[in-house]
Symmetry: C2
C-alpha cells in the first residue's frame, strides 16, 4: 500500500486528509452495537476520495489498484454493521458526489449510487411513483448503500426484500481488476453477486430499481390491551392480500414509552400496531384492528398539518428507528435481528417474550417472505455483556428462531453463516487483489473458517 503515491496521483480530485473528517467518514452507525463499538472504534482510513463522476471514480480505482491501496466504499454511512468502515485503512470511496437521477420511467428509475432515497422519491413523485423499498433512514440513506448493505424494510410487507427477484432490476459495477473502464451490468440472478456484498465484489456505479405507485400513505397506530392481540392483528394485516399496506410493525408496551413525541396518543401498558396504509385501505385496517380487539389511537389523515409537522412519520417509529429512539433515551439499549418462522409466528414470539421479559421488549416487523407472511423481530435489548448477548442469541436459536446478528461486521456472520459461493467466485474475478473492503468477507480471508466462533480481522484488537 503506497498512500503517498496515491495522494500524488489523486491531486486535483476531491480528496480529504483532515484527520477528524477522515475519521468521521470512516464510520457508520456501527455504535448501535456495543460489540462493534468496542471492535471498530479505532478503525480509520488514510484518505477519503469523493469522485464527482464516473471518470473520476474509475481513475481513483485505477490508482488504488496500481498502489495496492484498499478501497472501502461509502454511501451515506447509515449502515449499522460497520459495512462502510475501512478495517485495513486505505481509501474510503465516498459516493455522495455521484447522486444524479438519470431516468424515471413507468415502473423504474435509474440513478447514481449516491442518490438519497428521499430525493429519488421526490423526483419520481412527478409521475405518481416511488421506490418500493426503503430503510427507516430513508431521508439520509443512499440507494447504492441500501443495495450494497441493506436487506429490505419499509415496503417489504408488499414486495419482500432486496434479495427477491424483481426488487433490483440492474446494477452496474466497476471491477477492481486493473482494467480501468470495464463496467459490468448485472441482471437477474447475477445481481446477487453485488447486492448485499458491502462493496467487496465491485463498486456499484449505477442502479436500476423498480418503482411502485405513490400514495398519500396514512400513518396509523392501533392500541391493544395485550401483546398477543397486537401480534394477531399484525399477522392478519400481513396476510390480507387485498389491503395495500406499506408497513406493519408491532411494539410491546415497554417499547412505546420511547415514542416521546407520540406520547399523547399512547396508553401506558398497551401494545401497538403501527401501519402505513393506502388511503383507500385505511377503513379496512380499522375494521381488522377492531376485530382483533384493538382501537385506533392515531391516524395521520385525521390530524392537522401543523400537528403532523411535529411528529415523526410512522416509518420513523419502525425498523431500526425503533432502536434509535430507545437508544437516545437509554444508551445501554441495543437490538437483535430475529426471524420468527412459520408456522405459529405468534406462539414463538410470545414464548421468547415470556423467557426474556423486560430484558428484550418485543418489536416485530411483518414482511412477505418467499410468497408467505414472514415476521422479523428487532427486539430492544437491555445490554449487559457480550456473554449474555451470546446467551440470548443461543436462546432464540434453541427455540427455532434464527438470528441475523447485527453485532458482527462480516457478511457471513450477519447472515447465513456460510460461504456465499457466488459472491466469492465473482470476487476472485472482479477483485483479484482483494482490495475491496478487506475483512468483510470471511470466505476470502479464511475459506476454511469455523463459524462456531466470531471472526476477528487481523488488524483489529481483541
Amino acid at each position: 500500500m503506497d498512500i503517498a503515491a496515491l495522494k500524488t496521483d489523486l491531486a486535483g480530485l476531491q480528496i480529504e486528509v483532515n484527520p477528524r473528517i477522515v475519521q468521521q467518514k470512516s464510520r457508520d452507525f456501527y455504535w448501535y452495537s456495543p460489540v462493534l463499538k468496542r471492535q471498530l472504534d479505532s478503525v480509520v482510513a488514510d484518505v477519503v476520495a469523493t469522485p464527482r463522476n464516473l471518470d473520476e471514480l474509475l481513475y481513483i480505482l485505477g490508482s488504488c489498484w496500481r498502489n495496492d491501496v484498499p478501497v472501502t466504499v461509502r454511501g451515506a454511512g447509515t449502515g449499522n454493521y460497520g459495512q462502510a468502515m475501512p478495517l485495513a485503512g486505505g481509501l474510503v470511496l465516498d459516493l455522495s458526489g455521484m447522486a444524479r437521477i438519470l431516468s424515471i420511467e413507468p415502473g423504474r428509475v435509474i440513478a447514481e449510487p449516491g442518490a438519497i432515497l428521499a430525493d429519488i422519491d421526490a423526483a419520481a413523485r412527478a409521475s405518481g411513483q416511488e421506490l418500493r423499498l426503503s430503510p427507516s433512514t430513508y431521508h439520509t440513506a443512499s440507494i447504492g448503500g441500501f443495495v450494497a448493505g441493506g436487506s429490505g424494510g419499509v415496503g417489504s410487507i408488499r414486495w419482500g426484500g432486496l434479495r427477491d427477484a424483481g426488487n433490483i432490476i440492474r446494477l452496474r459495477l466497476a471491477a477492481m481488476d486493473g482494467t480501468v473502464g470495464s463496467l459490468i451490468d448485472l441482471t437477474g440472478p447475477d445481481i446477487a453477486k453485488a447486492s448485499h456484498a458491502y462493496g467487496t465484489t465491485g463498486i456499484i456505479t449505477e442502479v436500476e430499481m423498480p418503482l411502485a405507485p405513490a400514495y398519500d400513505w396514512v400513518d396509523m397506530i392501533m392500541s391493544f390491551p395485550t401483546l398477543e392481540g397486537a401480534i394477531r392483528c399484525g399477522e392478519a394485516l400481513a396476510a390480507a392480500d387485498g389491503l395495500l399496506l406499506k408497513n406493519v410493525a408491532v411494539m410491546d408496551a415497554s417499547v412505546t414509552p420511547y415514542f416521546k413525541r407520540h406520547a399523547g396518543y399512547l396508553t401506558a401498558g398497551e401494545a401497538v400496531v403501527v401501519v402505513m396504509a393506502a388511503p383507500f385501505a385505511a377503513g379496512d385496517v380499522v375494521h381488522l384492528g377492531r376485530h382483533a380487539g384493538g382501537r385506533v389511537v392515531f391516524r395521520s389523515d385525521a390530524e392537522a398539518p401543523e400537528t403532523l409537522k411535529k411528529l415523526p412519520a410512522a416509518f420513523e417509529l419502525c425498523w431500526n428507528h425503533t432502536t434509535l429512539r430507545a437508544l437516545r433515551v437509554d444508551p445501554s439499549i441495543t437490538y437483535l435481528q430475529v426471524l420468527y418462522p412459520q408456522p405459529d409466528i405468534c406462539g414463538k414470539v410470545l414464548k421468547i417474550a415470556e423467557l426474556l421479559g423486560e430484558e428484550a421488549p418485543t418489536h416485530l416487523e411483518f414482511v412477505r417472505f418467499d410468497g408467505a407472511v414472514g415476521c422479523f423481530g428487532l427486539p430492544l435489548l437491555r445490554y449487559t455483556s457480550e456473554e449474555r448477548l451470546d446467551e440470548i442469541v443461543a436462546l432464540h436459536e434453541a427455540h427455532g428462531c434464527p438470528i441475523f446478528n447485527p453485532h458482527r461486521y462480516t457478511l457471513e456472520e450477519g447472515g447465513m453463516k456460510q460461504t456465499d459461493a457466488t459472491q466469492l467466485a465473482f470476487k476472485k474475478r472482479a477483485d483479484p487483489k482483494g482490495l475491496l473492503n478487506p475483512g468483510k468477507m470471511i470466505a476470502w480471508d479464511q475459506p476454511d473458517f469455523d463459524y462456531g466462533k466470531p471472526y476477528l480481522f487481523p488488524s483489529l484488537s481483541v
Copy 2:
C-alpha cells in the same frame, strides 16, 4: 305475482316482452355445464326491464314489490352458474343501461353496476391506472355482475380474490323492502352481505373499487417438457413477492392444442406456463422459467403489432377462456373448479392428473390466498355422465382437494356448502318477501337442507 299490473306500471320505461329477446336475456353462460344446461334450459322471465338511471331502477323495484314479482338482476350475462337466470320467472333487471363511470381518483374508481370492465380500464388509463381484478370475460363483463357473481381471476396472483378485504371498497345497494329510495352503503366486512350473493340480498346500484397502476403487461408463454416442470415454475413465480405479475397459469400438453391461434408457437407434447408480467419483470420471469427447465416460446413485446392483432391476449387463454377454447372445438368438454391446498400443491396436482389422465387435462391458475400462494384448478373435463362427474368430484375431495362445483346454480353448492349466516340475516331485512333471485340461496328456501344431495328449486324439472 301480477305481471299484467307490473307491465302497466312500467309503461314508458324501457321494457322488453319479445319472447326471443326475453329468452336471450334470461340466460347466461350456464351452458358451459351440461348439468346446468339440462336443468335450466327452460328458464325464462316474463319481462325484462332496463333502467337508464337510479330513479327508474328504484321505480321498477317498487312496482315489483307491490305486484309481488320476482326480480333477477343481470349485468352482462357472462356468468357460468345461471346466477342471472330467473328460476321463478318474473322480471329480469338488466343493468346494462346504468353504465356510467362516476369518478376516478388515485387508487379508486366509482361506477354504476353496468359499466364494462374494459371501459372502466379505458377511462382509468388516463391516470395510469386499471382495475386490480377481472375475469377473462373482461371485454364484455360488467363490474356489478363481476362483484355479484365472480370471485377473482386475472390479478388474483397479486391481490387475492374479491372476498379479500380491500378488493371492493364500497357497494351501494337498493333493498327490496318496499321503502323505495332506501339505499344502503356497505363497507368493510359488511360488503360480504352483497358480494357474491347473485343479487339475492339487494340490487347493487354503485360500486367503488380499488385501482392498481396500469402497465403495458407483457404476455409470455413458456414451454416445458414435463407438467411437473411447468407447475414448479408456476409456483416459483407465484411465490416471487418482488415480481410484478398479473396472471400465472399452467396448462398441460393436452390443453394447448385448443390454443389454435398460438399453434405456431407451441410444441406438441409440452406443458406451458402463461404469464402476464410488468415490462420490468419480464427479464426475471425468463430467468425463473429457464431455471425450472422451460424456454420462452412467445412474448408479446417481441412480436409485431400486426401479429398481435391476430392473437388473443394471454388472459384470454386463461381462467374460463381456457374452457371456452376447448368447448369450441369439442362441445363435450366441460370443467371443474378445484382448490389445491398447501402444502405440496404440485404433488396433489400430479396425483390427480395421474388418476384422471386424458379425462381431465390439467389447467391451473395460481393466486394469492390468505397471504400465501394458492392454486386453483380448472381442469378440462371430457364429460360422459352426471354420475361420472360426481365420481370425479368425490375423487378430488378424497385427495384433499375441495371442489367449488360449477355445475350447481345455488350460492351454497357452488361454494362453501353451508349457510352463509351473514347473507341470510341480511336478506331477511333487505328482501323480506324473498323476491330477489329466487332459488339461488338454499338457506332462504330450506334452512334445514341436507347438503348430501343436490338442491332442486321447485319450479325446475328433474
